[in-house]
């Protein structure tokens, strides 16, 4: 018989241009995994994934949410947004490629490192995007 796997579910709404909330979700996630005893380097990778995803949604999307499932051996992060979508994912995955508007860059964001940082920090990284609909990102980090 299959028993349901024990885990924690954390959910965070992400709102367009609400920069004052940037970093809140990722630091909460980091605190949780640290309290579980996940080693420092792994906790750091999880929080980088969360932070970049959080920021991407705030900058580019009209709204979205992050669902984080924390298990005893891994953390899964799923970010769904309603936004313009990413027209060229391959280009977006290149370091330094950014579609962030100037006003965002002036704030020190939008350096074009978001997706590459996520892909580098996660053990598994999947992205799907459709124009004018939105973007879906799933990341997995093993302990």
């Amino acid at each position: 018989m299959e028993t349901e796997e024990q885990g924690l579910l954390l959910e965070f709404p992400l709102e367009h241009y609400r920069f004052e909330t940037a970093g809140e979700a990722s630091s909460k996630i980091k605190q949780v995994v640290r309290q579980l005893g996940v080693n420092a380097q792994t906790a750091r990778r999880i929080s980088v994934c969360a932070y970049e995803a959080e920021l991407n949604a705030i900058i580019h999307a009209y709204g979205g949410r992050m669902r984080v499932k924390v298990f005893s051996d891994r953390t899964e992060l799923e970010v769904t947004d309603e936004g313009p979508g990413i027209p060229d994912i391959e280009a977006a995955m290149r370091e330094g490629f950014s579609t962030a508007p100037d006003n965002i860059r002036e704030m020190g964001f939008g350096a074009g490192m978001g997706l590459p940082n996520m892909a580098r920090s996660a053990d598994e990284f999947q992205i799907k995007s459709s124009k004018e609909k939105g973007t879906w990102i799933q990341m997995l980090v093993r302990y």
Binding site: Q6, G7, L8, G23, S26, S27, K30, Q31, V32, R34, Q35, L36, G37, A40, Q41, A43, R44, S47, V48, Y51, V70, S72, N117
Partner: protein, 478 residues
């Protein structure tokens, strides 16, 4: 060590595991939560009317000493009495000490004042800082190191990393702290000059902060400190003030440069570096903030971050005597004069041997697992859920009346079994109200026999209750 150290409150099951200079004087503590609310690692809880320090979380920054209105927090350091145990005693004068005296009192006269207090020799820590700057410059040239390099000169900041940011341990600079370098040189010179054994020589740091005391008894990265002990700056300030004002005689020997003395103020360490991108964070909450940014990878293009636990730098240390802004003003004026008199390009060459000594490989630094809720990750998960549920029941005012610094911290303490839900005055009031309502309801209930009878007459239950309440009021009023 101070004779009253024995009476200080040591708390926690792990009391023996870590040494801490910061202690509580229980007779002065009135059980307010000022210290708990200012603690950067949430290490303090007020229990049974006294502030208790969780040893595994304390980083000896001394914020609690600074904020306690009753001066119930103290730092255990050594005293001048301890000099008796050694044949020959050396005082290490921190540059922050020069900021404790008016500018017209010269550095040589401050150093001479220390001799009057019973030391045989005085050495400037600023000399060690000059070597540390050169060593750091050398280290930053390396291509194989993780950037940004984080300064390890402030022992409280280093401990903050161990407790809160263990992922950043590998970013710490391996360079010895200036005071360690100065102590090593001073002891070696004393052995050479006096012919005494190293163990007969006491090397004492006149310290502006408690974390330095902890760093000696429990060094991080090095096996054993070069120092014998520390003497709190504020504890000898009165005597030293008398000694310096009557002394004009200069101490023979070369004096440290403005580069070394500048380390006493925030930015001084970074200023000694050539051609590097630096950031300076001072004040322990700012240090925590900048480390947070390093952790999420936002400061990868910075070469070096100077982290100082005290606002303003070491001159703002909790064991200094003078207000930090007054001290900063004095030190800056001293530095200005020093720079004016220092001829261009004739700075003393620093011994290569000293640089490589300061950079020698260090022991690996172990993180402190102060946050982990349970050894079993499944149990820890359950605890997180329980903490979240509990937090929702608490008012979220972070008033601290319960003795925990925040509602979240109380929720954690309840789940970890060190506090109870009734510790929250708001929860307690709610519980009392619920109980009172229940009592009122119960008092209205009558045995079935009586209920049956009364139903035959008139409904008396609720009415009789009202009457009781009214009568009560009358009675209270009368």
């Amino acid at each position: 060590m101070d004779s009253d150290a024995g009476s200080l409150l040591k708390v926690g099951a792990s009391a023996e595991k870590y040494f801490h200079s910061v202690r509580l004087l229980p007779e002065r503590c009135i059980g307010c939560v000022s210290c708990a609310r200012h603690c950067p690692t949430e290490a303090i809880r007020v229990r049974s009317g006294k502030a208790r320090i969780t040893e595994s979380r304390c980083i000896d920054c001394g914020e609690c000493i600074r904020f306690c209105p009753n001066h119930a927090k103290t730092a255990v350091t050594d005293s001048l009495e301890d000099l008796k145990n050694f044949q020959y005693n050396i005082a290490l004068a921190a540059p922050s000490l020069y900021a404790q005296f008016e500018k017209n009192i010269s550095v040589p006269s401050i150093l001479a004042g220390l001799l009057k207090l019973g030391f045989d020799k005085v050495v400037e820590v600023a000399r060690g800082a000059e070597i540390a700057s050169a060593a750091l410059d050398e280290y930053l040239k390396r291509k194989d190191i993780k950037r940004p390099v984080i300064s390890s000169a402030c022992p409280a900041s280093v401990r903050l990393i161990l407790v809160k940011f263990p992922e950043l341990i590998e970013y710490l600079s391996p360079v010895d702290a200036p005071v360690e370098i100065a102590a090593r040189i001073a002891r070696a010179e004393a052995v050479r000059d006096t012919g005494r054994a190293p163990c007969e020589i006491g090397v004492w740091f006149i310290t502006p902060c408690p974390a330095k005391m902890t760093a000696i008894l429990e060094p991080i990265g090095v096996e054993k400190s070069e120092l014998t002990g520390t003497i709190s700056m504020i504890s000898i300030y009165g005597e030293l003030l008398k000694a310096v004002s009557t002394t004009a005689k200069a101490v023979p020997g070369h004096l440290a440069s403005s580069e070394g003395v500048g380390w006493a103020v925030a930015g001084g360490e970074a200023a000694g570096l050539s051609d590097t991108k630096v950031l300076v964070a001072h004040g322990i909450h700012n240090v925590s903030n900048v480390l947070e940014q390093v952790a999420i990878g936002k400061l990868n293009d910075v070469d070096f971050i100077e982290c100082l636990s005290c606002a303003g730098g070491c001159i703002g240390g909790p064991l200094t005597a003078i207000n930090r802004f007054v001290a900063e003003n004095i030190l800056k004026q001293r530095l200005k004069e020093m720079r004016a008199s220092e001829a261009e390009g004739c700075a003393e060459l620093i011994d290569e041997e000293q640089i490589s000594q300061a950079l020698r490989p260090k022991a690996p630094i172990e993180p402190r697992p102060a946050l982990k809720l349970d050894d079993d990750i499944r149990v820890a998960m359950q605890k997180i859920e329980m903490i979240d549920d509990m937090q929702k029941r608490l008012p979220g005012l972070d008033c601290g009346s319960c003795g925990s610094p925040t509602c979240r911290a109380l929720a954690e303490d309840i789940v970890q079994g060190t506090a109870s839900e009734t510790d929250c005055v708001f929860r307690l009031r709610e519980m009392v109200r619920t109980l009172a309502e229940e009592m009122v309801n119960l008092s209205a209930k009558l045995p079935p026999s009586l209920t049956h009878e009364s139903m035959n007459k008139e409904s008396v239950g609720p009415v009789s209750l009202k009457r009781t309440v009214n009568e009560d009021k009358k009675w209270i009023g009368g």
